[in-house]
């Protein structure tokens, strides 16, 4: 039985999410601009594990007082379906996007039960001129590069408690108001620590279902939520819905995903149906695939 809160209908359903492997790194640079630039490169083409190998995004920005070397920085989270894939993605992205970015340095962003190789994998770029530095339990590498040195911590942590695929479906009367609701939700989600919304601007318009009529295609458009197909397929939309957007949330723990979804729902309700969304739903696979179920009614403000 759907609820209505301040004019926004909340479907009596749940988001189905999956366990993932995750890691975090802190990127610093001489300015926040260059730290963000490196982070944006590193998290580019990392919207979905289906096609990108990992999901990645900026968790939050850091002041000089919060970083290991006293410079401004950002914390980046990466999620993947296996430890091996996460290691591969981390190594490739740090090598191609951070090592190459002017004035950047890279440090562990999480203390995990296991570790992933960071500087330990990149040090060979130094061709024998790399310098190892240890202090207590900390270990980092100094790799000479053309603007000085790339400083990179030897390892970073890995967590197996991460959850990926928490989601909200945002339904509205027009594309503009639906987008406004999604933007408000993403802004609220970005304030929650330890989570990312990996799609462009945090929003995805091409929600998918598993499989396809075509052989070898793992995912295809979710026609039940496509407004232009409303009369032609078994639709999930009501007559007033003209646009649907989805927000996917990955978090380092199940609790952080719940917090992010709660913040997103709260922001959408606060915006109201006239300026934002008329309805909130969530995507699931009947509860048979993912162990984490986030019921919308339990996440209401």
């Amino acid at each position: 039985m759907p609820l209505t809160v301040r004019g926004v209908r909340i479907d009596d359903t749940f988001a189905e999410a999956f366990g993932m492997r995750a890691t975090a790194v802190i990127i610093t640079a001489d300015s926040l601009h260059w730290a963000r630039q490196a982070a944006l490169s590193m998290t580019g083409f990392a919207t979905s594990v289906i096609g990108c190998g990992c999901e990645a995004g900026i968790d939050h920005e850091l002041t000089g007082k919060q970083t290991p070397d006293g410079r401004p920085g950002v914390r980046v989270l990466l999620f993947a379906v296996s430890t091996a894939e996460l290691q591969k993605q981390l190594q490739t992205r740090v090598a191609q996007c951070l090592l190459t970015s002017p004035s950047s340095a890279c440090y562990a962003g999480i203390n995990g039960e296991e570790t992933l190789r960071l500087g330990n994998a990149l040090r060979y770029f130094g061709d024998g001129w790399q310098i190892s530095k240890r202090f207590g339990e900390k270990h980092f590498w100094r790799i000479p590069v053309m603007d000085g040195e790339f400083v990179c911590e030897a390892t970073t942590g890995l967590t197996k408690q991460a959850v990926g695929g928490g989601n909200l479906l945002i339904l509205g009367r027009t594309p503009q108001t639906t987008r406004a609701a999604a933007e408000a939700a993403v802004a609220a989600i970005r304030k929650v620590p330890d989570v990312i919304a990996p799609f462009p601007g945090g929003v995805v318009r091409s929600g998918s279902k598993v499989g396809s009529k075509y052989k070898g295609v793992p995912a295809s458009t979710n026609e039940a939520y496509c407004p232009t197909l409303r009369g032609a397929v078994r639709t999930a939309l009501d007559s007033e819905t003209k646009s649907v957007l989805e927000i996917v949330v990955d978090g380092l723990t199940a609790e952080t995903v719940a917090s992010a979804m709660r913040a997103g729902i709260s922001a959408i309700i606060k915006l109201g149906p006239r300026r934002g969304a008329t309805r909130i739903s969530a995507g699931n696979y009947g509860g048979k695939l993912g162990p984490h179920h986030y019921y919308l009614r339990e996440l209401l403000p």
Partner: protein, 271 residues
């Protein structure tokens, strides 16, 4: 809980091996048993109770009250807890330490922190020659841990150091960081002649450089090194003076080219 306190009864007329006075060897012993422990010294047998008055307390925290540079091997092979000496000590303080914290409020003799593997050794006064260095016949000196000397040190500080960090807030004598294999030696003020002699790898930081470096060190120019900013944050809890030094730009000398040449001497410049 109060620490276990040992108070020196009087002036010693011979050297004393205090390597037994570490938390893990005293664990589970009563005051009576501790007083009966035999100390290695000259051919005259002597017990701990003959030398110290013992006041019961937490064995994980040991305070030695009394000033004697004849206390040798203080904190040797210590692996946990805290040991504080309220005066000077003799040779090889903190040798082969693998954990815990040893604090000497006075001076130490030669070979303090020799072969140290982990833990923290703080010397509030001065340290003798070969701080962290190996004994004769040993291949490596210090292998880990942190040593802080508030005063100055003698010759060959950090000799053959393999890993770890030595912070000297005063001056260092000749051949500071000689034959270093790796690790970090920070001298807040100046070092004597030929710092980094036969340095293979590792970093020597000098706050001032009035003495000659070996001609086998190559000037690589002045740089602001991010790694030193990171190191500055790490050493700040142990030495604010060293942390301030590490914030400076440095002239980097690569060497010693007479050997492997993968080490560096960083000489601090004023901003």
């Amino acid at each position: 809980m109060r620490p276990l306190i040992l108070t020196l009864r009087g002036r010693l007329d011979h050297r004393l091996d205090l390597s037994l006075l570490v938390p893990h060897t005293l664990a589970g012993k009563t005051v009576r048993q501790i007083e009966r422990m035999e100390l290695q010294t000259s051919h005259h047998p002597i017990t701990l109770g003959d030398v110290f008055r013992v006041r019961a307390g937490d064995i994980k925290q040991i305070h030695i009250q009394g000033d004697c540079d004849r206390f040798d091997y203080v904190g040797q092979e210590m692996n946990s807890g805290e040991l504080l000496v309220e005066g000077n000590v003799g040779i090889q303080a903190g040798r082969l330490m693998s954990g815990g914290r040893l604090t000497v409020l006075g001076n130490t003799g030669p070979w303090a922190a020799s072969g140290m593997k982990s833990g923290v050794l703080e010397i509030r006064g001065a340290a003798g020659d070969r701080l962290g260095g190996p004994l004769a016949g040993e291949i490596t000196g210090m292998r880990g841990g942190i040593v802080i000397v508030r005063g100055s040190v003698g010759e060959r500080a950090g000799d053959r150091m393999r890993r770890g960090t030595i912070i000297i807030e005063g001056q260092a004598g000749r051949y500071a960081g000689s034959r270093m294999i790796a690790g970090t030696l920070i001298v807040r003020r100046s070092a004597g002649p030929l710092a980094g002699f036969l340095l293979k790898r590792g970093t020597i930081v000098l706050g001032e450089c009035y003495s000659a470096l070996s001609p086998t060190f190559m000037d690589c120019g002045e740089h602001e090194l991010i790694a030193m900013r990171w190191l500055s944050a790490m050493v700040r809890p142990y030495s604010k003076a060293a942390a301030v030094l590490l914030q400076r730009p440095f002239t980097r000398f690569a060497g010693d080219m007479a050997v492997l040449g993968k080490g560096e001497i960083l000489v601090g410049n004023r901003n």
